[in-house]
């Protein structure tokens, strides 16, 4: 049996794979949070609930309408985005002129209401969601067996992160967003409907959470509580990466997923807390985060 640093190679590759998969979710979710905080200056505590809504959307589409995974991958995030656009337009917008704390409290309250409602209807235990047949099975990579669906999650997450980076950094829409972050009034005087832009930005961030939820559905139980545990880690990822830094959120997401996976191999007792230890160290040495700006 081959060992690497005293650990069986199969175990190491297995945990690295789990780390990359977790990192894919961290990256997608923290990307959405970074977009929302970077552009709207809202600390979106409803993000975990939006992730849960994405997963439940896929499950409900399948259960009640017979709509399968591939269509749900498009429809469910759009539904989450549309619902979130209404939240921004009628509720969250009212907190922009107030201290950040009010946005945090409001979105936290929204999360409690949404998760509570789903728990009331569906209970706390999870509902299974089948892996799509086209992605069932494994691929033999030689040094390990890679479940096809997990490979798909990693690739899909990378593709989406790249697409969002392109949208923000290389398109006119992204230029409007970046300018509106600096000087929203001047951008409005130029003729750009900034309030609508902010609504769309919040919807985009929420849609990314919803997409992560759909991707998670075949892997984890679809439950009203599935966002709660994940969101705390995701906030730590965003803080480490630098609040509002899109590239920071993505790189840090994947990096911390891998660090968590490796910790599980070499020092399993610390795997649940290693992200927060990293966060504490980074904040001490570089308070704005690895990629943040003062």
């Amino acid at each position: 049996m081959t060992t690497i640093f005293g650990v069986p190679a199969a175990a190491l590759y297995g945990q690295l794979l789990i780390g990359l998969i977790n990192g894919s979710f961290y990256a997608l979710l923290s990307l959405g949070l970074a977009v929302i905080f970077g552009m709207l200056r809202v600390i979106n505590f409803a993000h975990g609930a939006q992730y849960m809504l994405g997963a439940f959307g896929a499950w409900m589409l399948l259960t009640y309408a017979g709509v399968g995974f591939w269509a749900a991958l498009v429809i469910s995030p759009i539904m989450v985005a549309a619902f979130s656009a209404l939240l921004e337009r009628f509720l969250i917008r009212r907190t922009y002129k107030l201290d950040h704390l009010y946005g945090l409290l409001l979105t936290f309250g929204i999360a409690l209401i949404v998760e509570g409602a789903f728990r009331h209807v569906y209970g706390s235990s999870g509902n299974p969601y089948m892996t799509p047949p086209a992605l069932a099975g494994v691929i033999d990579l030689g040094f390990m067996m890679l479940p096809k669906y997990r490979g798909f999650v990693i690739i899909a997450s990378l593709a989406v992160c790249l697409a969002v980076w392109f949208l923000v950094e290389r398109t006119q829409f992204g230029a409007y967003l970046r300018a509106a972050t600096e000087n929203p009034r001047l951008v409005q005087v130029f003729g750009i409907n900034v309030p609508l832009l902010l609504t769309l930005t919040y919807a985009l961030g929420a849609g990314l959470a919803g997409l992560a939820g759909v991707l998670a559905a075949p892997m984890y139980q679809v439950s009203p509580l599935m966002g709660q545990n994940l969101i705390i880690v995701v906030f730590a990822v965003v803080v480490i990466g630098g609040m509002g830094s899109i590239i920071g959120a993505v790189i840090t997401g994947y990096m911390l997923g891998v660090i968590e996976g490796l910790t599980r191999v070499f020092y399993p007792e610390a795997s649940a807390t290693v992200v927060f230890v990293v966060m504490a160290i980074v904040l001490l040495l570089r308070p704005t985060g690895l990629f943040g700006r003062a």
Binding site: Q172, R178, R185, L186, V189, G191, V194
Partner: protein
């Protein structure tokens, strides 16, 4: 009155507030098409506030503002640009997150007749060489040119320029002056806020003296000689 005979910009009884503090106490302005009007006055007189109030950037305003005969006071902030009003703020408003090219392309085209990129680079050749630089890595003069150039692209034909020569070297001021004369030659209407009276003299057709949030006097270039004493008292020229 047919639209083409109406003033480009008409302001009547404009009052405006910063929070609870009233800054304008009834400004009346008339700017005809193709004119360059200078708003002169000491620091704190209300010149920049007048421009901001026209655009709807104040917390509260009252009065009538018409662009080519159409009341614009009920328009949302993002609707102002479509009336043809273009704004170059005092601090220039160059976005640090955007390159020069992105800053130039940011304001959408709102009316036909916007300047082409070739025409803009003819007027401001420096910008062509700096397209990929971050917006704020430009010198003060280049930032001023960029702030003007991005509005010219949009088709706006009534330009509100706030202190375009502030902090600039004389040779750059001359180039800004040449740029404004080129705008005039194209028939553009310009409202210019300036403390630099000598610069305003080179480009303006008419002057409004603003003092304590009101219009103290207004006159054309043919009446400058008879206004020297008043100008001396207010502006120290």
């Amino acid at each position: 009155m047919p639209e083409d005979t109406k003033p480009a910009l008409l302001v009547q009884g404009l009052r405006a507030w910063y929070g609870e503090s009233q800054a304008l106490h009834g400004i009346d302005l008339e700017v005809r098409r193709g004119e360059t009007v200078a708003l002169l006055g000491r620091n704190g007189a209300g010149k920049t506030t007048t421009l901001k109030a026209i655009l709807g950037l104040m917390s509260r305003r009252e009065g009538r503002i018409e662009v080519r005969g159409t009341d614009i006071t009920r328009l949302p902030l993002h609707g102002i640009a479509r009336t043809g009003l273009g704004y170059v703020p005092e601090e220039r408003g160059i976005f640090s997150e955007l390159s020069v090219a992105e800053n130039l392309a940011l304001p959408p085209v709102v009316l036909p007749g916007g300047w082409s990129m070739e025409e803009i680079f003819d007027l401001f050749p420096n910008l062509k060489e700096r397209l990929n630089s971050p917006g704020t890595k430009l010198s003060g003069g280049e930032q001023q040119m960029l702030a003007m150039a991005r509005i010219l692209r949009t088709g706006a034909d009534i330009l509100l320029l706030d202190e375009p020569t502030e902090g600039l070297a004389p040779v750059i001021i001359d180039r800004i002056g040449a740029a404004i004369r080129a705008l005039k030659a194209r028939g553009m209407t310009v409202v210019l806020v300036e403390q630099n009276f000598r610069f305003a003299q080179k480009v303006a057709d008419r002057y409004y003296i603003i003092e304590n949030g009101k219009v103290r006097d207004h006159f054309g270039t043919d009446e400058l000689a008879s206004r020297q004493q008043a100008l001396g008292e207010i502006l120290g020229v």
